[in-house]
Each structure stands twice: as C-alpha cells, then as structure tokens.
Amino acid sequence: MNSYDGFPLWYRELRGEAEKRAKEMPWPDARQEAWRRTNLKRLDLESLYKTEPAQPGFERTAPMNPQAPGPDNRNMRLSFLHDAVLGDYPGVKELYEAQFAAGDNKFIYRLLAEPPRGFYIYLPRNYSAENLLFLEDRLNGSGGETVTLNLVVLEAGARADLWERIGTEDSPVSLHNRATLVLLKRGARLSYYRTQSLPGESALLDFSRFHLKEGAELKSHQAESELHFNKSHVTAVLEERQSRADLRGVYRIGGSRFNEIFTEQIHLAPRCASRSLYRGVLEDEARTVFNGMIRVAPEAVGTDAYLTNNNLLMNDGCRADSIPGLKIATNDVKCSHGSTTGKVDPRQLFYLTSRGFSRTEAREILTRAFLE
C-alpha cells in the first residue's frame, strides 16, 4: 500500500505532514503579508488543479547507484533527486527540513508532498568544478502544475559555477512550482545563475533557498523575463559566521505581466555580510512587486547587510511596488537599504539624441545601461 516504503523514515514523516498541510491549508490570500499584492486570480487555480498530479508510481525503490556520495567520494555526482532521497545522500535531509520549517503556504507544502522530481548535485570536499555546470529543467507542462526540486550540496572548500535554466518543451498554460535548495558547507563558493525561457503564458512560483555555513560565499544572479505570472522567493540564510551572500537580479517586464520578487537575507551568525541588488524595467501595463527583507538575529553581531531596489518606469500605466524592509534585533550592525523609482533621465536622453540616435534607440541604450 505505502509506495514510499524504501524511503528513509524522516522523509516519510516529513512528506506525510507536508501532504496533510497541503490538503488542509487554504490558498494564500491577501491576509498574508507575503501574498497581499499577489493577484492569484491570474492563476485560475481551479482549472490548474482539475487534473490531479500523477500519483506516485515508482519504478525504483532503491537508488540506481547504491553507493551514496560521502567523504570518500572524489568526484562530482549528479543524481536524480529520487535517488538522492532514497539513498539519504548528504545534505538532503537538512535541506528538506529547512524548506519544511520555512513553509508558510500551500504551494511550499505541495512542493514537499509530491514525489521527488528534480536533480541532486554533489561536490565533494575541496572539489573545484572547472567548467560551468549547466542544469536545465525541461518541464513538461501538461496544463496542470509541475513540481520540481533541485538540490545542490557543496562540501567544505568546494567551488562551482552553476547555471540553471528553467525551460519547457511544449507550451500549454502551466503552473511551475519549484525550488532550488542549496547547501554551502564551510568555505564553499558558488556562483549561481538562474534564467528561464518559459512561454509567456506560463506561471512560475519559485521558493529557492541558500544555506551558508562558516565562511561560505554565494553569488546569485537571477534574470526574469516576462511571464503571465511570476513570483519568486530567494532566501539566503547565513547560518555560520563570516559567510557572505550576494543576491542580484534583473527583470524587464512589459505587456500586462506580473512579476514579484521576494528576497530575504537572514543573518543568524556573527560577522556575515549580504547584499541584494535588484533592478527592473517596466513597460506597458506591467506590474511588479519587489519585497526585500533583511533579518538580523540577536546573535548576529557585526552584520553588514545592504538591500537595493531600483525601478525604471518607461511609461504610464505600469506600476512598481517596492517594499524593502529591515528587522534588526541587535545593535552592532551596519544595515541599510535604498530604493528608487523613476523614469529615463531626460538629460541623458537629450544627449544621446543630439548625437544622432533616434529616441527609441536612445531609450533602449539607457535601459540596457540601467540593467548592466
């Protein structure tokens, strides 16, 4: 009866609880601060969930390669998430549990309740990936919800550049509910690039998290293109001292598209640094929400955190909400944020047109420069 027989006990319990919550919880609504500005009506949840996600029909109840990566491992490992959970590979439990603990809405619990689909990447101690790692989510939108989790674990001192592209092969209107969960152990370094090439009618919900141990460094770059509905959460948890996270993102949104970005810089340990820089260009009737938060726990002395959001509005009719927040619970900190919203500088525009560019060209040049 129980199709999760071969899975570790912690996973079965966590999944069971997530499934229960996913069933019982109502859809998020405006009463939740994180969803107050999100127009979920755009999603037409009714029809998206008419087709129930496929019930688990597992081919394997044991990992394909039974040897779990561990301290002896000398090479990078790429597995299906299914195998990684079955084999209880390093970091899987920690990342699952952190995501579960952060769960505050039905979507995240669905993400955890569904059978594990996605990839698991493991870099052993001091392993330095020389080439850019490229990971593509080839989502098969069936008109319903797709659920994907990618887990990335870098052991102490490992280094990698990872490019993740979210794409799809066909284009029925689908909701892609996904997360990339990353664990950077002591002194590990990751440069992470995320792009997406989904069809414009799609909807994307992303609940990515990065956990940084002592001295780990993260550089995250995120480029958002136009989607009917796009809500992306990026959380960096600086768990141990002297870790450093740098979150960057650009978005260029037109039409009547909706784009919402949530960033969280959570400082739990002394002397960590974090930066967030998000820039967006809005055209037509686009609507964007940027919601950033720096949280500093009482223990996190010597925190250095900064958060910036700049929006460029190309015409009337678009709307940019910018909500950079701070929650600081200790005094030995340097925390600040800045936000600007404005239009293309008329003087710069004049200068470029006086040099022979057409108005349209000049605007394009200035917009690109803004996003650089």
């Binding site: 009719g317 709307r319 701070l326 200790t330 600040s336």
Partner: protein, 467 residues
C-alpha cells in the same frame, strides 16, 4: 485616589504625579448605545452629531482589530471609562482653573511657556477643555480656536462641512471608536489670508485611571492662511492599561500652510492609537512633526493626501522606544495630483529591549506627472537587546516620478563616544549628546520650549543607559 502600591516607577517618570479624581460626571465602564447617548446629552449636542456617533459606534462594533503592527491583544474595551467631565463649565482665565489642575499644569510648565510664546491655550484635563485663552487680536482676525464641543454649538456650519470628511468614521476600528465617544480636543479655523504667527498650543492630559481619552481635533486653514498647531502630552503613571485614541483632521485649502507638531510622552502603560490625516489642496503645504516617547504601544502614521496640483507634504517623525515599549510609527503620503512633492524623515531610537518600527507608504496614482518623493529612515540601537524594524511601502503607478528611499540602522559609534570622553564627558553624557545630535534635524523644527523639553526628556531617558 489610587493607592501608592498601584503607582509604578514614580521616580523615573518626571510627570508621573496624580491628583484625586474630582470628575463631576463620569460614565460607567464599558461602552454601549446608552453611554453614547449620555455623552451626547451631557454635551447638549444637536441630533446630527448624535447620529454620527451612533453610526460610528456601529462601525466600531463591525470593524476588526488590525492584524498587523503592535500587539493590541491586552486592550479590554469593557474595562475603560469612555467619558469623564472634570469641571462644570469652560473657564476663561487662569485664576478660575481649579487649584489641583493648575498645580499639575504648573509642574509641566504651561504658564511660563504661555507668557512667552502662546497665542492661546486649550489645555485638556480629562475630556473637557478646561482652560481656554485666545489672544484678542486673533479673535479679531476671525481665528477660531476652541474645543470641538463649542464649535458644534457656535460654528455648526463649519463643523458639518468638514467634520469626519478627512477621516470617515468607518476608516478603522479606532477612528470609529473615537468618532463614537470623542470628547475634547481642539477646533481651529483660520480665515483666508490670515497668518497666525505664534503657535497655537494645547496640552492634553489623562488623569482618571483606566480612562481612555478620545480627543478630536479639526483644523481648517482657509485659502492662503498659515497656522502652527502644537500639541503635547504628558500623563500620570498608572498600573492598569489606558487607551488613548485620538483623531486629528487637517484641511489645508488652496495656498494654505499648516504645521502640526506633537511631542507625546505617555506613561509606560498607555496604548496610543491615533489616526492623523490631512488633505492638502492646490499649492497647499501640510507638515507633521511627530515625536513619540513613552507609551506602551504606539501606532501612529500621520498621512497627507496631496489632492490638488502643487501640494506638498512633509512628515518628520521621532520615536524613542524604551523597556517594554513598542513604537510603531511612520508616515503616509498619497500623491493624487500632478506636480506634488513629499518628504518623510524618520528617526528612531531603541533602548533596553524596546521595539521601534517605521511603517510608511508612498503611493503615486496612475498617470500623475512630475511627482517627487523622498523617504529617509535612520534608526539607532543603543544595546544588543533592542529591535528596529522598517517596513516602507512604495506603490508607484506613474512614470514621471522621482522616488527615493533610504534607511539605515546602526549603533552609537565608538569613535564618537571615545572622542567625547576624551574631551571630559562621562560615557553617559556622551551617549546622551550623540542621541540628541541624532535627533537634531527634527528638534530644530520644534518651537523652542518644546525643543528644550524634548532634549530634557531624552537626557532623562538616557540616564543609566550606558555602562
């Protein structure tokens, strides 16, 4: 009289003295329609005002408590006196004011201030304005400065035209409560073209235990006029929770300028939940200067609606959160017209585990041209236990906008402390000086005696904070 055992921290709180309750008429605890009728009857109000109160009471019952901001779960609406009337009738001169009330005022220092600066004093002791003095030349100019009760009797046209238009009674739960049981406050009308050069002042005080104070202030500045209204609060110390829920409405008509300054120093058990809002019409300017010290929980976000072209709004906010206190303050500006501008400056200080939060909103409606707005929030944390939060909301739906926001959180810099100590100050003195310096941009905006008082209060709050 409350027994000595119910009085907390008397030494620490400089204005924490308390006189026997001599109120002449006082409603029972709790609130129902009967009490509202009694309040209205006591004030000999016309039917339309009673209707307004009853409708507001209905809205109060229907509205839910805010699900955000400070923790308000301890407020027990049934355990509050909603109305008390201290003396029989309005007094015109200082000599007629009852001795114990006068003594309280003496200690806060009203008479000196009055001699020097005041144009008129409406000092509120419990719910009624007990003392009123408006300089003769102002009266001749047609400036009205009186209690809202008097305004209802003597200027019904103005009251009916503007009362409850800026903050409708169903705006929020506490505005509805105030609209139902309001008592006391100020009414100011400045006729076209008149500049009131000296600030109009009113001191508000709470004196009955468990007694919510619901004053109502309405300021109308007619075309091209100017007025500076100053309100200050000090309250005696009590052990049980008191509720202060005021409503302040300001209307600045074409070309008018209104400046409203408050320093509130409620005792540490008061819930201070205030709705303040202003409408600024063509080329009008509204400035809020808002200082919040004391109180248990404060939720207060002075707002300006820039309704017509050329209007300008400015909000300066200071919050000082000490032990057990939560200051949830900020400001809101709504740009509803072209060529409007706004500035919000917020400075907050948290100490001994206090929580200070900035919560603000800048909203630009679609298609508005040439909008400028700037928001700056600085927070100072004096120890590792204290908390500072910032929640700035910016909703921009127009392209022709220059919107800037910055916020920073820091502690007192060791370099500055070291420098001042090397010049012979103790650490405590040095810290107090740095805090006063941090607040300087706001203090400068206050009338002189308020600036002095604020500096004194900060020094008092800072005592024993270092070392």
């Amino acid at each position: 009289m409350s027994s000595p055992s119910t009085v907390l921290n008397k030494e620490e709180y400089q204005h924490g003295y308390h006189f026997p309750d001599q109120s002449i008429f006082k409603t029972r605890r709790g609130l129902d329609e009967e009490i509202i009728r009694a309040i209205s009857g006591q004030k000999k109000e016309p039917e339309w005002m009673l209707d307004f109160r009853l409708k507001a009471y209905e809205a109060f019952r229907q509205k839910s408590m805010p699900n955000w901001g400070a923790d308000l779960s301890r407020i027990d609406f049934d355990n509050i006196y909603y109305y008390a009337k201290p003396t029989e009738e309005q007094k015109r001169t200082w000599e007629d004011v009852p001795e114990d009330i006068k003594e309280t005022f003496d200690r806060i220092g009203i008479p000196e201030a009055e001699k020097k600066f005041l144009a008129g004093v409406g000092a509120q002791y419990d719910s009624e304005v007990v003392y009123h003095n408006l300089k003769e030349e102002l009266e001749k100019q047609g400036v009205v400065f009186c209690s809202p009760e008097e305004a209802v009797q003597n200027h019904p046209d103005l009251v009916r035209k503007y009362f409850g238009t800026v903050i409708p009674y169903r705006d929020n739960k506490f505005a509805a409560l105030n609209s139902a049981v309001w008592s006391g406050g100020s009414f100011v009308y400045v006729p076209p073209g008149i500049r009131v050069d000296i600030p109009l002042q009113a001191y508000f005080r709470i004196n009955s235990e468990n007694f919510g104070q619901f004053e109502r202030t309405l300021i109308i500045a007619d075309e091209g006029s100017f007025v500076h209204y100053v309100e200050g609060c000090t309250a005696p110390v009590y052990t049980t929770d008191s509720l202060h829920s005021a409503v302040v409405e300001i209307i600045a008509l074409e070309g008018a300028r209104v400046r409203y300054s408050t320093i509130q120093n409620w005792s540490g058990d008061v819930y201070n939940l205030v709705t303040k809002r202003a409408f600024a019409y063509k080329n009008a300017t509204v400035e809020w200067v808002d200082g919040n010290l004391g109180s248990k929980r404060t939720m207060k976000y002075p707002s300006v609606f820039l309704k017509e072209e050329g209007a300008h709004g400015e909000i300066l906010s200071i919050a000082f959160a000490g032990q057990g206190q939560e200051q949830d303050t900020g400001g809101k500006v709504f740009h509803l017209a072209d060529n409007t501008s706004s500035v919000i400056t917020s400075k907050s200080i948290s100490k001994d585990g206090g929580v200070s939060s900035y919560r603000g909103m800048i909203k630009v409606h679609p298609g508005r041209k040439n909008i400028r707005s700037r928001v700056v929030c600085d927070a100072l944390l004096l120890d590792e236990k204290s908390v500072s939060n910032t929640y700035p909301y910016m909703e921009i739906a127009s392209e022709d906008v220059t919107m800037e926001h910055e916020a920073s959180v820091s502690k007192i810099s060791d370099d500055q402390l070291f420098y001042l100590q090397s010049r012979g100050f103790t650490e405590e003195e040095a810290a107090a000086m740095i805090v006063n310096g941090f607040l300087d941009p706001l203090v400068k905006e206050l009338p002189m005696e308020y600036a002095v008082e604020l500096n004194r209060l900060i020094e008092l709050q800072m005592e024993g904070s270092v070392g």
